[in-house]
Amino acid sequence: MNSIALLSAAKDGILTGSVYALMATGLTLIFGVMDIINVAQGILVILGAYLSYALQIHWHIDLFIGLLITIPAMFVVGIVIERLFLGRLKGPEKTAMSILVTYAVSLLIEGSLNMIFSVNDVQLQGWYVQKAFAIGSVHFGYIYVAGFVLAVALLSALYFMLYRTRFGVSVRASLADQTSAALVGIDVRRVSTICFGIGVAVTAAGGMIYGSTNAFNASSSYDLISRLLTIIVLGGMGSLGGAMVAGVGMVFVGDMVGVVWSPIWSSMSYFIILAIVLLFRPQGLFGKQMARVA
């Protein structure tokens, strides 16, 4: 086995895993606060990538500067989706119904993207997209490093918001028990709407990095959502820390197995770990043991 390949795989796992963690954090935040499984998260990542693409192609706006536009834009998209479709879901079947509704939303967005951008693959461009620097024999792509820094910064901001702000207290209270939160005067509906917006807003950053490291079209969302869902299941549905650990862990383990053993086993290795964890901890690594009362 080649030591450079091993070090490169470790580097790839951590850098790429952090971006997946960011995307999955949005998904798990939405589930934690709203009991909604947002299967549209994959297509929202792709929508975020296409927004960056449109800004770059039509207005020559740099990908990172463009985030100042795309993150708020995706926040608004999230608010609109929540207000139009999800806020109306009620009752014990809410979680199951949310899968259908968000799937319909994803079809709507996918069809629209296909109409606007066609199905031909595109990739985001920038001088830093292809270039890299070396530390020893290991090369670090600028875009991957920037993606890692961006993910860490946004996840830190999210944590700051959750643990250092009054709104964060409301979110955490809603995460713990929506009924009790409402009883102490928290506007759970408003918290839910904003959390959905935040969960969608992070896809702008995730999408920009994804679109810079992969050629994509609207259909790329299918591979993404399956991966994101498995991350939050491993981490524990509704657990932000779990999503981060599982996101980085999943990609890291897969990448290492791909080098040490064979790439054909990289995905399989993750699912084996997932199966073992769920065998002993059905709630995932950091999930709550008891079902929360809605």
Binding site: V101, L107, E110, G111, N120, H139, T213, L224
Partner: protein, 417 residues
């Protein structure tokens, strides 16, 4: 479960709107003109979304172009042709459902194939049960023909030998120029995997050592660690078994970031997607990249030239930018039209018998002549290469003794140079 009216309205409206948007985006494109005779319906399942959507859409363009041409020429035996296209989302199970619905519900008279060997397998099995001929242009993998179904006819090149001209060229280079090492890395797809051992046998015989040989799962979303492992092995040649542009693009990006540029780089598919490939990887990076195929937009074949001109008139672009899928789909229509004309009707059993008779049919791809398994072994494999960084051209480079082949760019220029 009790559902309130408001919720049902929301769900209903969302689903309908979503379906409408998808339907508009993936317009099934029925082609019809007012003719005196009743229309003849041809059923097709295509990947208008999902992993193969880019190829599926290109196939749709090819089928539509053929239908338009045949209708301008008076239709099939005077019947205007209507295409009944259902989207399969690149899912084998949906392909099966689609052909069942096309035959038993929509009562199509004829069927054309989907995109990819992976999807041709369920398509061929399903149509065989109903006794329909399955003429197709993208199911050339051995796994399709190993089914020994009597109804399958692939107009394109059998894929197993696609890399032979490339491997032969490498192995016959003078010893001073001949690469010493090669990496084989392929998706676990029925289209890509069978090509690798054939090339490997030729290169091994020429003394070229394999330094990396692995298969990766088709559902991989991050190719960087695999590409980094290939780069760490520092092979002179990289043979990549890919089915689409994103895979090739990801490997190229990771190679560039690793500071690794092989002397020769060939991918089984992706670079053949014309303008779509260039748009994803950039002109400068495409220089020197190769792909095997049996057709390209600048082919000398007269029928091909006519089709390319019509394509550009309809969809725009340049000859080099026309996706090979378009020609494969168009050729499917040509083979079926010839069979219908020769048999004087739409009897699938007669069409199957006719196509198994050894008859040679001229198509935009060249001659189509089927063996007992439905393969078209008469098709020649070529290697094509992107050349130049500004006036980028897609040219035929192998077999070297073919009059239409131009000088190959070797070694491949460094990425972006």
């Amino acid at each position: 479960m009790k559902l309130n009216g408001k919720f049902l309205r929301v769900l209903g409206a969302t689903t309908v709107a979503g379906s409408m948007a998808l339907a508009l985006a993936t317009d099934s494109g029925a082609v019809s003109k007012s003719h005196a005779m009743s229309p003849i319906k041809i059923g097709i399942s295509l990947s208008l979304s999902g992993d193969f959507s880019a190829d599926g859409q290109a196939f749709q363009q090819g089928y539509k172009l053929w239908a338009s041409d045949i209708n301008k020429a008076g239709g099939l035996l005077g019947h205007p042709v209507t295409l009944d296209i259902k989207s399969d989302a690149s899912l084998p199970a949906q392909v099966q459902t689609n052909y069942q619905a096309l035959i038993s519900n929509d009562h199509v008279a004829l069927t054309f194939g989907p995109f990819s060997s992976l999807l041709t397998i369920p398509a061929a099995k399903t149509t065989a049960r109903y006794g329909y001929a399955m003429v197709e242009g993208a199911g050339g993998a051995p796994s399709v023909f190993s089914l020994k179904l009597h109804n399958v006819f692939d107009v394109a090149l059998p894929v197993a030998n696609s890399l032979v001209p490339f491997a032969n060229w490498i192995s016959t280079l003078p010893a001073s120029k001949r690469p010493k090492t090669v990496a084989y890395v392929t998706s676990n797809d029925p289209f890509t995997e069978p090509q690798i051992p054939v090339a490997q046998a030729i290169l091994s015989k020429a003394g070229i050592k394999s330094v990396y040989n692995h298969v990766f799962p088709a559902e991989v979303t991050d190719f960087t660690p695999i590409a980094d492992a290939v780069a760490a092995a520092k092979p002179d040649v990289v043979i990549l078994g890919a089915t689409d542009v994103p895979t090739v693009s990801a490997f190229m990006q990771a190679f560039e970031q690793s500071g690794f540029s092989p002397k020769a780089f060939i991918a089984t598919a992706g670079p053949d997607q014309g303008a779509a490939f260039i748009k994803a990887v950039g002109k400068a990076n495409a220089d020197g990249v190769m792909v095997p195929n049996s057709w390209y937009g600048l082919a000398a074949n007269k029928q091909s030239k006519k089709m390319v001109a019509e394509y550009i008139k309809t969809y725009g672009g340049t000859p080099a930018g026309v996706n090979g899928d378009v020609a494969e789909a168009y050729a499917v229509g040509q083979v079926m039209a010839a069979a219908v004309k020769a048999t004087g009707g739409f009897s699938n059993s007669k069409i199957i018998t006719y196509l198994h008779s050894g008859v040679k049919i001229a198509t935009v791809l060249g001659g189509a002549q089927f063996n007992a398994l439905g393969e078209n072994p008469s098709m020649t494999a070529y290697t094509f290469q992107w050349q130049g960084t500004t006036g980028t051209k897609f040219v035929q480079v192998n077999p070297a003794n073919d009059p239409n082949s131009v000088k190959i760019v070797y070694p491949k220029p460094a990425w972006g140079k």
